[in-house]
Symmetry: none
Subunit: 90 residues, 4 copies
Amino acid sequence: MASYAVAADQLKSIIERIERLEEEKRAIGDDIKDVYTEAKGNGFDTKALREIVRMRRQDPNERQEAETVLEVYMQALGMLPLFGAAEKAA
Amino acid sequence: MASYAVAADQLKSIIERIERLEEEKRAIGDDIKDVYTEAKGNGFDTKALREIVRMRRQDPNERQEAETVLEVYMQALGMLPLFGAAEKAA
Amino acid sequence: MASYAVAADQLKSIIERIERLEEEKRAIGDDIKDVYTEAKGNGFDTKALREIVRMRRQDPNERQEAETVLEVYMQALGMLPLFGAAEKAA
Amino acid sequence: MASYAVAADQLKSIIERIERLEEEKRAIGDDIKDVYTEAKGNGFDTKALREIVRMRRQDPNERQEAETVLEVYMQALGMLPLFGAAEKAA
DNA sequence: CACTGGAAAATGCCGC
DNA sequence: GCGGCATTTTCCAGTG
């Protein structure tokens, strides 16, 4: 019977730890939002900012590969790639 | 009192119409998923496919503008744009 | 070389199928919007309507989670289960 | 010309602040994952744990929607409200 | 007409 | 390794 009590205590502890961490995470998420809002107020384009952040987060090699696949498909569809592939080889 | 009954009938009708339409919408969503799955089975890169679809959906001018902003930011951050801007002017 | 052409055709076919399906999906989305708009014109509260639809959509899921250990955990945490176990067996 | 430099500095600052915050956020996300992993090692069902956390998170929202016409609609549709209106007034 | 909040899509992760 | 789930991000309608 005591074991149930122990389990209940454990459970409570787990849930509370998670909730505390999630609260922190949410707070930081809000901070991030604030930075974007402030940036916007200073005339920056938040969508472009987000894209920059995303690009920097990615592995350059992966990004490169993804881009290459994309261009092959665009070629096949007759969509001119915005930029030539040739100069990349250089 | 009858007016309540009428309203209840109207309400039911509204809800059911929406639910029917949402069911259709969901079914089409499943179809789309199937196409991607099949494409994947044929060796296509679904992520790139999704990007192609997204690009074709976008207004070319908007895409162009967004890209321009992005490059300005990348320049300012010393991130070499993957492709030169010069050739675009051409 | 022909294989590239084939792949290009396949690719076009895939993209077009997706685009067609997405167009259908979008049209249905518009229909749904129309129903809400019309309902609003008849004095219904669209927000509440959406809530109703959401609730009815979620119900089946809740039934499925009946077999989880959820209730045991809720008991241990002093959260009353929404419904007694007895009535579920019924 | 100096203004460009200023803007570039501002931009760098913004990006770096976001990246720092995202790193913190990611770290906390990892901590949360760790708690779940540890709990699992102690015999808890992580899926049920997540459900508990979600339920506790949603409760406040449900309280807020108390003032909607939801119940009227539910009545009209023969859906019993989860809780009586009387106890809400309390 | 910009902004906030909510729905939809997409990405990433975990379990099988 | 893949399918399904959860999270995250994006989009869009409603609102001030």
